[in-house]
Subunit: 393 residues, 2 copies
């Protein structure tokens, strides 16, 4: 009576959210201060003040019909120009407003990109650890997700495995750097080697392999780590961006897809993405927030609080004996589960009201994810549980 794939997508609970909801129930029983919830990747620092100031100013001082009216499907021309100009300036490249297509966040941008490039059963490669939703984004739209196992323990790229998985059906490689869940940023060296491999393979296959860069964490870097602008390294890069993390606006659904002019056949790629968005019911990205992000194009997130959490957690956990690559981006830590089975470890942690996300869905069952967008007080209170757990295993 209903489509079975869609039904399963709707019924099958998201493990992370399930864990979060368990935490809420448990808090009601044992008290909020006794539940150490590291499950969700929700920004814990509010939007910079200029976001709300501009929101109010736009509402108060712009014609209401214009503010809330339809925009072109690709976005407000002015907003596109402003955002493109800032990006071009920041990375020393030539971008035009016409290279951007505003979307309701990165997720529908990724779906539109996959649908635009899917020739029917095409393959898209995800490199573990990867955001679990890539699977339904590809597989429920007629494409195939091919997973490259993780490069443990550094979480750069397992080159042999990647090379072996590129086939004539490969249309795209999806990367996410700074990475959720590892917190690792692909180095310039990694990206250059990736570009070389994809260039070589594209030539071999006689068709371009696109790099799909999922970049909601682009501005979340610590220790002055470089976050290279990927289209400058590999020309056939399509960027899917979201303001969810950079401006702490995850619920407002605002982001863009960027198809630079130097992408092969860029006009067709852009048009196909626009068409795929239309096929999913995209009309325009939220109009008010298109204006806001343009006004805040030069705003940068406050990463200090996350950085302090990172230092506190990384220092404590490694001192107890946990193994973990030091994250230099995003707001996660990806820790090796003592015993090697993150599901078992996470279940054990749950008994101590310590909520850790097992790495299975990210493609790395030996590791668990910690979200560092939490309160420092919670971190301090949770440390004895971490210590006790590793001693038990």
């Amino acid at each position: 009576m209903v489509n079975e794939t869609m039904l399963q997508l709707g019924v099958k609970r998201n493990g992370i959210r399930e864990l979060f909801e368990y935490g809420l129930r448990q808090a009601a029983i044992v008290g909020r201060e006794n539940v150490f919830d590291y499950s969700l990747g929700n920004p814990s620092i509010p939007a910079p003040p200029e976001v709300n100031e501009n929101l109010v100013d736009i509402i108060r001082n712009t014609d209401s019909l214009a503010v809330h009216g339809y925009t072109p499907a690709f976005g407000l021309p002015d907003a596109r120009e402003t955002v493109a100009a800032e990006l071009g300036e920041r990375y020393g490249v030539k971008l035009r407003g016409a290279n951007l297509f505003f979307t309701c966040g990165a997720a529908p941008g990724l779906v539109a990109t996959i649908r635009a490039l899917n020739l029917g059963g095409s393959e898209f490669i995800a490199i573990a650890p990867f955001f679990p939703e890539y699977r339904p984004f590809a597989e429920s739209n007629g494409a195939k997700l091919v997973v490259v196992p993780a490069d443990i323990p550094d979480f750069q790229i397992n080159w042999e495995a990647l090379a072996a998985r590129i086939s004539e059906r490969t249309q795209g490689v999806i990367i996410n750097t700074p990475n959720n869940p590892s917190g690792v940023i692909y180095t310039r060296e990694t990206l250059e080697r990736l570009a070389a491999l994809l260039t070589e393979k594209s030539a071999e296959l006689g068709h371009p392999i696109f790099l799909i860069a999922d970049e909601p964490y682009r501005e979340r870097a610590y220790d002055d780590a470089e976050v290279p602008f990927i289209p400058s390294i590999y020309p056939n890069t399509i960027v899917c961006y979201s303001y969810s993390k950079s401006l702490s606006l995850p619920g407002e659904r605002i982001g863009y897809v960027c198809v630079p002019d130097w992408v092969e056949d860029s006009a067709a790629v852009y048009a196909a993405i626009a068409g795929a968005a239309r096929a999913s019911g995209h009309v325009c990205a939220p109009a008010l927030f298109q204006r806001v992000v343009a006004r805040c194009a030069y705003s940068r997130p406050d990463v200090k609080a996350y950085d302090e959490n990172r230092a506190l957690l990384y220092g404590a956990l490694t001192s107890y004996g946990y193994e973990c690559v030091k994250p230099n981006g995003a707001f996660y830590m990806f820790v090796k589960a003592p015993g090697g089975d993150s599901q078992a470890f996470s279940d054990k942690a749950k008994e101590k009201n310590l909520l850790l996300v097992p790495g299975n869905d990210f493609g790395v069952p030996e590791y668990f994810r910690i979200s560092t967008c939490v309160s420092p007080d919670m971190i301090r209170l949770s440390l004895p549980a971490f210590k006790a757990l590793i001693e038990e295993f």
Copy 2:
């Protein structure tokens, strides 16, 4: 290199928007006051003042992390409850928050519903005149759109044609009342007869045929015309709603899908819609606007200005000899093209800088659409052109 269907969807211009853009170019040449643009269905009356007041109040007085944070995929529990309670109260039915799934407007709600019900090549029936995007919504998602020709000149339903088009592959019938482009509201009698037919055919086929009610114009009725609540007439109704027209928020992308408890297997239908939304990259509807529409659940649009335009245009055009059903809803008039070919008539009108949308894409090539959300001054200035045109034909 890219998907051909998506490319065509992105490349093929929307005729209405093309006409609108032509009008802008022409205005630069002959002067804005000399272009009579009836092309777009953009509300011309701003959002009720409480919308902007509540927006500012929420931004100013609610915790910023909460305001802009992720909501559950189905929407904020409180907002769902409020909207469901108001609907239930208004129509004397029992609706729960859990029956609603907030979406980025009606379009992605329709796509999610079609994808949820599409068993692979399933058929969805649209009744002419119909919103042209139904075609890509169905056909680019693996379903088939089957068109029932219009019931001319009343634009209710051509019963024989509808009955003949229902097959074992029919999963849904999409209706849009008050209707774009005819401005007609399906009468209670029409809806009851439709319910009887679908009930009979469902029994015959052994599976439910769902009624998919696309209702952005629900609150746009004139002359105290009744807009019946369709789920009260046909149980297997799924409502796709948008606040674009009722609160003049078309650019903000906020609406919902409503699956009442009395829909057959409603939990599975709801879950499949949620899954299909996820497959299109839906994360949540814009969070700020979920709160706003809940606060404005009892707001009603000001239909007076549109009503005056309707009276002015209907009176003048019929006095010149144009044939047109008197619209009692939405903000359009659907007029028979003198000569019977709306494309030819519209081309001729364009020479007089009178921009009318030919009915071809709506499935009725003999009629053209006029949008009545325009300024009364423009209407008055345009009347001589209408008069001259019918005399020429």
